[in-house]
Amino acid sequence: MSEAGLAVVTAVENVAERLETERTRLTELDSAIGDADHGGNMARGWAAAAETVGELDDPDPATVVQTTGKTLLSEVGGASGPLYGGSLVFAAAELDGGVDRESVVGFAETYLEKVQGRGDAEVGDQTMVDALVPAVHTFTKSIETDDLPPGEALAKAVDAARRGVAFTVPLRASKGRASYLGWRSVGHQDPGATSTLFILETLAETAQTLDIDVPDTADATSPTIPEAEDTNG
């Protein structure tokens, strides 16, 4: 199995384990302003994803991410299925050429773009976007401007997401089911922003534990395209 593919499988397994641990916490948050199914949905969906990617034969990172997204789409109920799963399916294409500094930024930005487009949510609507926007912007800046290694950039993104989650508490929800509550949503931490943070924290811990070396370019894992033969003669 490719080292990068194996690392992504481990990350998915770790996320599944973390969300199982946080099942009650997420459900409590969701029962205050939603329908109390976020904890169960996320735990079940990621457990199914971990099982499915564990059975892949020597997968590349893009395949692991895409398989995870597809499994979440069919296994996670509610809006989290298309938001988490659908967005991963599209963002996975950014990793087709392998994992490098450029492709991980492309992945993060495409994922954010899909989540925002799907839910039509902006920062301040009390949704997962409140955690995701600062996280992705921090990640991109840390790599592109500050020239940090992706592992450190991810750790900074987690800090940004944590501040974003805290920021959802005083907000009034204007997207998603909580928006039906109007002012009663004020004072509650958003479950989707919280699960986004849990996932990012787990990814950062996994990257640190595995001490993954993300290359500047993905030459080693890029498919070699043979030169086209001239068949017109």
């Binding site: 789409l73 109920g77 509610g78 299925g81 599209f90």
Partner: protein
């Protein structure tokens, strides 16, 4: 060939009931329902939506009426990743489905004309 109509609701019974009303008005128009979480609960499942789109597609495409939240998002994902040409009509799900099923019976119906008629249901006054 005809434009098809699909109704996606969080409730299987709501989707089927709306299809029942629309099909009554829509003559030969293929009208299909997708709804529920697949375990007799409330929700929507992308695979079910994809199957309904395929069943309603006669080769000219499908106009989809949706209820709320994840029904909209799951339908969008299925359209973007799937094989059936389909568009979501942004209108009330029952009135829009009836309008769409009727509009699809026109010999000059297109995906766009059927969607327009479904969306025109937003302006229907009842009193």
């Amino acid at each position: 060939m005809m434009i098809g109509v699909v109704v996606v609701s969080h409730s299987k019974r709501a989707a089927e009931g709306i299809v029942e009303v629309a099909a009554e008005m829509g003559g030969d128009t293929p009208v299909e329902a997708a709804g529920g979480d697949g375990q007799s609960g409330i929700g929507t499942v992308p695979d079910d939506i994809e199957a309904a789109l395929a069943a309603a597609d006669d080769g000219d495409g499908v106009v989809v009426l949706v209820d709320l939240g994840s029904a909209v998002m799951n339908t969008e994902v299925v359209i973007e990743t799937g094989d059936t040409e389909a568009v979501i009509a942004d209108g009330p799900v029952l009135e829009g489905a009836v309008n769409a099923a009727v509009a699809a019976t026109s010999p000059t119906a297109t995906l766009e004309s059927v969607r327009e008629q479904a969306e025109a249901a937003r302006a229907v006054d009842k009193l």
